[in-house]
Amino acid sequence: MPERKRPISIHRRLLRYMLAPLLLLLVAGVAVDHSMIVSPIHSAFDRALSRAALAIVARIHRGPDGQLAMSSPEHPPPAPRPFANAEPLPPPPKSMHGEGPSPTLRGMGGDVFFYRVSLPDGRSLAGTPELPLAPPDDKAADGFSFADITFQGEVMRLASYRTVEDGEAVIVTVAETPARRDRAVHRMDVSFGLNDTVQMAAVLIIALIGIRISLRPLQRLSRQIANRPAQALTPLSTDEVPSEVRPVVESLNTLLGTVRNSVLSQQHFMANAAHQLRTPLTGLKAQLEVLGRETAGSPLEERIALLHGGVDRLAHTANQLLTLARAEPSAHRASHYTSIELPHLIGEVIESSLDRALAHGIDLGADCQHVQVTGVYWLLHELLINLIDNAIRHTPAGGHVTVRCGANDGQAFLEVDDSGTGIPAGERARVRERFYRGAGSTDDGCGLGLSIVDEVARVHGAQLSILDGSTGQGTRMRIDFPASS
């Protein structure tokens, strides 16, 4: 089975071509944002670490033994807080020189904080003696130097402050785990990422709305085309058509114009052909009728009756051919389509066929419900005449033919039901063929009746079904019209 190709949608294409670059742009934007915020956050945390070092320096003084010492280390120095201006001074720490295990201080929010006060000769005065020093930074004039180290199995940020206290050089080193700065970076990343995503989404929505608005003239155009009757051949309006689409509309109009001209010339031809065929046929028919009357009782009468029969068949065939040719879908202009009350149509056609039915001894009747269809009146008239004509032809005297109309689920239907000989199931498909005549047909039909019915149904988007008669014998010809046509 051939795969059905999905039609190209401008909307989808624009979206597809925009989506990938926009996503790339989003990723790049987040990366740029990340690189831009990392260094300010790091320097803020480094400054906080420096302040912690300064706070420790403030507690160094010369002890009674003439040695530099730290006052009361009972409370460790505060964990550094970045972005905090007024840092409350912690209570004075007790001397902790040589006491207990090296203190591991809990910083804020899960950070581990170490400090060490040492002399240039490597002696530690306080804190964690194992803590390494950051190599001196010659470029920094303020005496601070920073380093990233791994200490006791943890990645740490280290700050060493080289200063002179009471005439003696001391080095204050502080270290903290980077959990908080990582969290800060992460928080910033998340908020920038969210921000970028929201912006992209907004751009996308705006683009979608823009696309929709700019495609509106196209939709208007397709609505304009869709709302026209299928047979309308008038040019499409080029007002409000965007310049990109105008060539398409203009080509369409040229095409419509060509079709219109050929339809008009065909209609003109058909009208002429009808006149040229019908007038001499009328003359022949009438002459033979008069002749038949005049020769009544003579040996010529029978031959004239034969001639008359031949001319009648010829006239019938000519009529049916003209009807079939005029039923071609291209022959109908939108103005030919009107709203038709099926019961009214049925009444009119039955009235015109009534005498024929009565002459054949057939009870012709109707069973109508109020229903409307949109169609070409004379075509539906021809359709029904042909259906009733067929039914009368194939129903023996004493039978009945009933014309029904109504609606099923909003779909109008028209039915001609007879109690006649019926059509064998095997023949049902073939009877629609032009000039096909059933095996048993002996009458004057030309085999075009059901072709006309089929063609007219097709012009109206309706469906002809050949079913069994409702009484179990005969035929039921049913026309189902499209929903709310």
């Binding site: 009208a271 009808a274 006149h275 065929l277 019908r278 007038t279 001499p280 046929l281 009328t282 003359g283 022949l284 028919k285 009438a286 002459q287 009728e289 008069v290 009357r293 006239a315 009529n319 003209l322 009444g347 039955i350 009235e351 009534l354 009870d363 012709l364 009747g365 109707a366 069973d367 109508c368 009146y377 004379w378 008239h381 009933t402 014309v403």
Partner: protein
């Protein structure tokens, strides 16, 4: 009864003339619309049969011209065109009936008879169907022997309505409207009862045929 035939095709013209003459009419045939005025000026006609496709001035224009000049002559159009537009056009312009070629002579004769009868009946305020004569002014119906039929008010209304549309099917609804006043309500069954009584009273003068699902038609017996 005199008929003016306007038809350019001699085969058709000759056959129609012969056919109608056999039916008892006097027929004058002309081949174009220009000859019509002269004929109408010095002869009285009961009906004109006009072909639409005439050389020179066409049939539609002739119909228009006659009606504009106020001529009430009944007009029967015959044409090879079967488009609905043409038919509506002709009837709108004032033609009385329309027959599409090719037709059978008896059909033409029947249409002529109906048109002439309608015109004379309108003048006499009387409608004749078969052996039945309906005197509209006197509100009475006479059968073949000239006896006045004894009809109830409702039966008369039904007959009058059917006679006005003689040869046509009249729906039950229309008959109901014809026999009921504003306030009265009447069922379809009641119509059937009235019609069957009317039918027996008409006897062999005319008959009312019931058409299943559609209504009734007044016919020659």
């Amino acid at each position: 009864m005199r008929i003016l035939l306007v038809e350019d095709d001699s085969l058709v013209s000759d056959a129609i003339t012969r056919g109608l003459v056999t039916s008892g009419y006097v027929v004058d045939a002309v081949a174009d619309a220009e000859a019509v005025s002269g004929r109408l000026a010095d002869t009285h006609y009961d009906l004109a049969i006009v072909d639409l496709g005439l050389p020179g001035e066409d049939g539609l224009s002739l119909v228009r011209r006659l009606r504009r000049s106020g001529n009430p002559l009944p007009l029967l159009i015959v044409t090879a065109r079967d488009g609905l537009d043409d038919r509506i056009n002709a009837l709108d312009l004032g033609a009385d009936d329309y027959l599409v070629k090719p037709f059978a002579l008896p059909e033409l004769a029947a249409r002529c008879r109906a048109l002439i009868r309608r015109a004379t009946a309108a003048a006499a305020n009387e409608i004749a169907i078969g052996g039945l004569r309906i005197d509209l002014a006197g509100r009475r119906a006479l059968n073949t022997t000239g006896d006045v039929l004894e009809l109830t008010r409702r039966e008369w209304s039904i007959l009058e309505c059917l006679a006005h549309h003689s040869g046509k099917v009249v729906s039950k609804e229309r008959l109901t409207q014809a026999i009921t006043g504003w306030s009265e309500d009447i069922s379809g069954n009641a119509i059937e009862v009235h019609v069957s009584r009317l039918r027996s009273k008409l006897g062999n003068a005319a008959t009312v045929r019931g058409i299943r699902g559609l209504g009734y038609r007044l016919e020659d017996a």
